[in-house]
Symmetry: C2
């Protein structure tokens, strides 16, 4: 695209072989070749890009580290990818204000490490935390196991710097959790997958770094026994910082075909619980937990040092890796079902008639349902099965994405199953914030 | 207004003497007499009200318990007050899902008590928590002392039920903290003071009820010594659940004219700190705190039981009451200044040339600056002083409202000092969500 050749403050990639890596993220989707990939390193590039997008009629597709799982950063017809990996800025921690500011390009790993170096903590921990960029986690409101205690990315953002459709960068929010001068526009951009503007930087809230971790591997004889556990724990003062779940189907698969260590996993179902409070490694704390678990504690494994802790978490990691290797064409979906409806969900899942194994974050009802036979299923049938799965979650008061977002991958399902009032409101808001439709066109709605 | 006479599912108040209580909230503003006050007790009333507002061209002004401090619920020209105090619904706690649903009419006191009865906790604690209604706290994104640890109301809302401009009630969000199926529209309504629709109910997130509290009354020789303290505490693993501050001016006023107990308050400035973690009343915890405070701990008072705790908090309550009694016409403003800029703020405040005493929430930089001579100040001069105060806060990276909101009271200041891009975006969003301008017209923007 000739107009992009003189773009200031940017690296521009035109060559079609160099465009190849930008057609994919970590979803199963593939994008269309973009007109170009632009890596801006200053506001002049963005200003000019927005002007050209309007006058030449192309779309702008934001990209961080490309670790998204919903195709949100994949190029759509007649689009330019705006890759923020070269966007300048330093990670700056202010212990006095208990906050941190960073550019969208900052690796989340480095953001978390910068806080930790001051004894402070930035909680969001998506699975991709060692490889993703901060900007992507903001655009998708990233989650992770810690969300059951600490909430999602949106709960930790104090302010965002956003490219709006006027071509300029505007800041919404201040460096304090208290700010009520008008509606919080920052929240409109977090989790909106670039629909209303592109986030180029943010100020994040920090709290004390947890210094203790107690990790439990908890086998249960009946998986339903886990349903009351989060409420019973919290009612007794114990808030887990992670509460992961393995259903009977995934355990059966692991025992039958998994690695040696997996074959000995006990129970009908399995949970991993972690507590990171001050004092959570004390004897009194553990005794309280054991009292509360009562007969459920049979077979419980407790990690009391970091090596044992990593051994327990290895069960979680091994599950993902093993399933991916054994069923390379499986489809993993990221739904939410309230715990109080989980019995009905598993009954419904049985009726769908497609082999599925489930694990994920029971602490917030966010389940990763893996359709193992997806690769051998006729595409139209698979699509129907997925829609049935989403409908099941939605009808039980859940939703079709807990942490990955909608992007391209779930757009059709969202339009079919989403509340029409929500979709109508989103379209009106899109029109208000981006009347020319230049920001991430064809995504979500 | 005759059209309202046949309104279904509602109590309608027309008589001008009965309208009187609806002209005021807890701000210094007075509203105009409304066309009527409607107390809906079913969706048919809201449907018909919205239809009439559009056809007859009047505005709808939402009202909860009338405890707001920014005039957000006061009637504007040609408006009908929609008082939600009779809106039906029960408070229902789901321990299994760790959430609670309640109608807008629910007293916040009862919401918090319902959670507590199950050992669970709903953190928001605005000063009016014993008298306000849930709906008002949602519309204004209420804060309180606990916000420095737990965040604002918006951080605890999972879903909202909102009356939109189509006259229907729509639900945005689910009962889980994880929900990424499209941008979180619930966040658009929280803290937007009814601009985009009226919140009639919500689902709230719950965590374990704190079982221990340690409260410190900390006098300091130099007030600046407090500036680093939140960062030092958090860097060492201590997150206060409250961090209140009394500046030298308010202490001088208390010592000179306050009640007997106040005359002995030590130090140049004073802080109240509270910790509510598990184990925070243990000896080891307190020893750690004392180590960290070092020489600052001289004169420290520690509450180790509930009576002593209430004695310390009485200092905070007594301050508000005393100031209000001695300076009934004082004006108290609710600004935010980042701690790292607080030295500059107090220098700037001195230069404004109006006697001011300051106390408030140092844990999040939310300060209540009291202009004592406001009653004797010529109105135009007072207005200039307030604008100078707001400008000072904004120029230091703060904002003109930390927890009370904009409403009517700060509308002009917001329009003068707010970021033009923010105001432009708010107007575009307002047009998108409420094209007829029926929802709380004349407020905020």
């Amino acid at each position: 695209m000739d107009e992009l050749k003189g773009l200031p403050e940017a690296t521009v990639i035109h060559d079609s072989s160099d465009l190849e890596p930008f057609l994919r993220d970590e979803s199963h989707m593939v994008g269309l070749p973009p007109l170009a990939v632009v890596k801006p390193h200053g506001p002049a590039a963005l200003r000019e890009l927005v002007r050209l997008a309007k006058t030449e009629g192309f779309g702008l597709v934001p990209r961080g580290a490309g670790t998204g799982k919903a195709g949100g950063c994949l190029p759509t017809p007649r689009s330019v990818v705006v890759d923020f990996s070269q966007w300048p800025g330093d990670i700056r921690v202010s212990p006095q204000d208990l906050c941190l500011s960073a550019p969208a390009s900052a690796p989340l790993r480095e953001v978390k490490a910068a806080a930790q170096a001051q004894g402070l903590f930035y909680p969001p921990d998506p699975n991709s935390w060692e490889s993703c960029a901060l900007g992507g986690t903001l655009a998708t409101n990233a989650g992770g196991p810690n969300a059951c205690k600490y909430g999602m990315t949106r709960h930790w953002v104090l302010a965002v710097d956003v490219l709006l459709e006027d071509g300029e960068i505007h800041t919404f929010g201040i460096s304090s959790v208290k700010a009520n001068a008008g509606p919080a526009l920052s929240q409109l951009f977090i989790g909106s997958e670039g629909l209303f503007g592109f986030i180029v930087g943010a100020t994040l809230r920090l709290i004390p770094q947890p210094r203790e971790h107690t990790t439990l591997l908890l086998p249960v004889k009946r998986w339903e026994d886990l349903l009351d556990l989060p409420g019973r724990l919290c009612g007794d003062g114990y808030l887990p910082s992670a509460f992961e779940f393995f259903d009977p189907a995934v355990l059966a698969e692991l025992r039958a075909h998994g690695p040696e260590t997996a074959r000995r996993l006990p129970g009908e179902a399995l949970a991993i619980l972690e507590f990171d409070e001050r004092g959570s490694t004390s004897e009194a704390y553990l005794e309280g937990l054991l009292d509360l678990l009562g007969p459920m504690a049979e077979g419980l494994e407790i990690a009391s040092d970091e090596r044992q802790r990593q051994n327990i978490w290895a069960v979680r990691r091994m599950t993902s890796v093993f399933l991916k290797e054994r069923h390379p064409k499986k489809v993993s979906e990221d739904i939410v079902v309230p715990r109080s409806r989980l019995r009905e969900f598993f009954e419904g899942l049985d009726r769908l008639g497609c082999p599925a194994v489930t694990y994920g974050h029971l602490g917030d009802g966010n389940l990763h349902v893996n359709l193992l036979a997806a690769g051998d299923t006729e595409p139209a049938l698979l699509e129907r099965q997925l829609m049935d799965l989403f409908r099941l979650a939605v009808n039980l008061g859940g939703t079709l994405s807990g942490e990955h977002g909608i992007g391209l991958a779930k757009r059709e399902a969202f339009l079919a199953l989403g509340d029409p009032a929500q979709i109508q409101a989103l379209r009106a808001l899109k029109q208000a914030m981006d009347p020319c439709g230049i920001f991430n066109p064809g995504k979500v709605i």
